[in-house]
Amino acid sequence: MKGRHVRYFFGKIGLFFVTLWAAITVNFILPRMMPGSPADAAIAKLSQNGPVTPEVRASIEAQLGMPKGNLLSQYWQYLGDVVHLNFGVSYSNFPQNVSDLVGAALPWTLTLVGLVTIISFIIGTALGALMAWKRGTAVDVTGTISSSFLSAFPSFWLALMLLFFLGYKAGIFPTSGAYSSTAIPNFSMDFISDAVEHSILPALTILLTSLGSYVMGMRNTMINTLGDDYVTFAEANGLRQRTVMLKYAARNALLPNLTSFGLVLGGVVGGSLLVEQVFNYPGVGLLLYQAVTNQDYPLMQAIFLMITISVLVANFIVDILYGVLDPRTRR
């Protein structure tokens, strides 16, 4: 029995490293599979201002760290850079380091998207459990219909609507950025309340568009557990309704929902690209968008790698937790 458990965990750890390697490799191959080269793109931009001499071209290629040597040695070099978190220099924010840019954007994204994701998961799961318990009643029907509508809204469109009606028309909330342009980021109460005020509309957008999937996920799994024999048995034994609902049905329905929550939490690092773009919120999502529009390949690659790795790590933690919480998966 014990050997089997050890094998389960070692299998998961092995799979994690193989997937990690594959993801890092995909990130290496992707730009090399695409037509055109980053240097060509940078030179095309420069040449809009005048002709580019071969000397300028050579210096650009040197500055941008253009790949030299055959594919294998490039790959080896790339792996070394990844291990040392050396992602080179950004094209569009020259001469800033990619790592510094990401480091500046990350706190904004982590606080906004991270907090909202946790709140959304808690509210969504509670609502879903309640709806499954009161299945077929007005609570359930209203909840089902409204969460289907909410998750069908394109997030950027809801963002635009909130921005237009609450930001511009009613003028209740600030319309752009993470803090007032005159404020200097620090930890004073003034600045924090300013930042909170700026984050309300983006937070509301992310909350509303993400809530639906938790609600429906929890509702559907819990309806399934409510049909299981042990729940019927608990009811037949005359346990209190509250106990049956929370300790029997909801507790067991929570596990699958936790998986999707773990994955989403890993994706938080990537920010909420569309929402951040609409509100001009200086997070990782906006940074990725700017990297894409400016064809800033080093920045793009670094952000993509960071998002993938954090999703992978989250997935790994969820897998391990799942094995601990639900012994049946270790078989």
Partner: protein, 322 residues
């Protein structure tokens, strides 16, 4: 709940083939009249979906959207690309939804633009479902090292975050137009369906009717597509609408970011131009509201249809006492 009536063609045949001694006869009857039998199954399935009020709403809504885009040449009052009206005016009798900053009629753009959006949603939904079926069914049926390898690839695609991947690929393949948009949506959308269809295949492959087919010497290919596939139709349809829904939303998002072909008229590019031309500041709420609402309605209609399709595949989710 356990005594709920099995009212669908697919469910009956699944159970008949599996446990019922009448099974083989049912299959010969189907063999004699394959077209009639298929029509009967489709009819029964459709009726089950139609009986769910939410799904009925979804079907009607989807039909309205598809019809309005199909009849765009007759319904739309003006040429969607002709910018020969006063620019940036609000809703009026001539222009129900106002005009764009280039003096184009918004309502005409909305009707014509739906063609692209609906088409991309359907095509990407169909393609990712096809891949999901091919991968999911063979992966679930074959137990060998190849299966492990396929599983690894699918899991890799599941953990790579799809929106950043889509955006990056679309950025590398600049100005590729609709085909690139469809390509990236399919590339990031097939893996989830494969996993769902695989687990269902695994549970079906141990059923008696599959074992019987294997003993009678049918090839794996035949077993997968003649025995297992028909019993998973409801899940596959479910997967199609799910993939088409996320396809519609992804397409709108990518085009809103300007990663599609911004010269075509679609709901996503309408929002792209609206934002780029600062419609928020000029106060044209209709231009901002309408395209996004249409995307939302398209997504809602397919989500609601799936409430009915769920009923085909999971009896526990059946609504009420029906």
């Amino acid at each position: 709940m356990t005594n709920s009536i099995v009212s669908t063609g697919m469910q009956t045949s699944a159970q008949g083939d599996g446990n019922d001694p009448q099974g083989p006869q049912v299959r010969t009857a189907r063999g004699q009249n394959p077209v009639l039998r298929a029509l009967e199954v489709i009819g029964k399935g459709f009726r089950t979906v139609w009986e769910v009020p939410k799904a009925r709403f979804g079907l009607i809504l989807l039909a309205l959207i598809v019809l309005s885009t199909l009849f765009a040449p007759w319904l739309s009052p003006y040429d969607p690309k002709a910018g020969d009206f006063e620019a940036s005016i609000g809703p009026s009798a001539q222009h129900w939804l106002g005009t764009t900053s280039n003096g184009q009629d918004v309502l005409s753009q909305l009707l014509w633009g739906g063609r692209v959006s609906v088409m991309v949603a359907m095509v990407s939904g169909l393609l990712s479902t096809c891949i999901a079926v091919l991968v999911g069914l063979s992966w679930g049926y074959i137990r060998s090292f190849a299966g492990e390898f396929v599983g690894f690839i699918v899991n890799l695609f599941l953990v790579i975050p799809s929106l950043p991947l889509m955006i990056i690929i679309a950025a590398y393949l600049q100005n590729g137009g609709m085909s690139v948009i469809i390509l990236v949506i399919v590339l990031t959308g097939w893996a989830w369906g494969s996993r769902v269809l695989r687990s269902q295949t695994q549970s079906l492959r141990s059923r008696d009717f599959v074992t019987a087919a294997a003993f009678s010497g049918d090839s794996s290919w035949r077993i997968i597509f003649h025995e297992i596939f028909p019993n998973m139709l409801s899940l596959i349809i479910n997967n199609f609408f799910g993939a088409a829904t996320s396809g519609a939303l992804s397409e709108a998002g990518l085009e809103f970011l300007g990663l599609g072909d911004s010269t075509t008229v679609s709901w996503g590019t309408m929002l792209y131009w609206a934002q780029n031309n600062n419609v928020i500041l000029t106060g044209q709420w209709a231009l901002l509201l309408a395209p996004g609402l249409m995307v939302a309605l398209l997504a809602v209609s397919m989500t609601f249809i799936n409430f009915g399709v769920d009923r085909l595949s999971n009896p526990r989710l059946r609504e009420g006492k029906a």
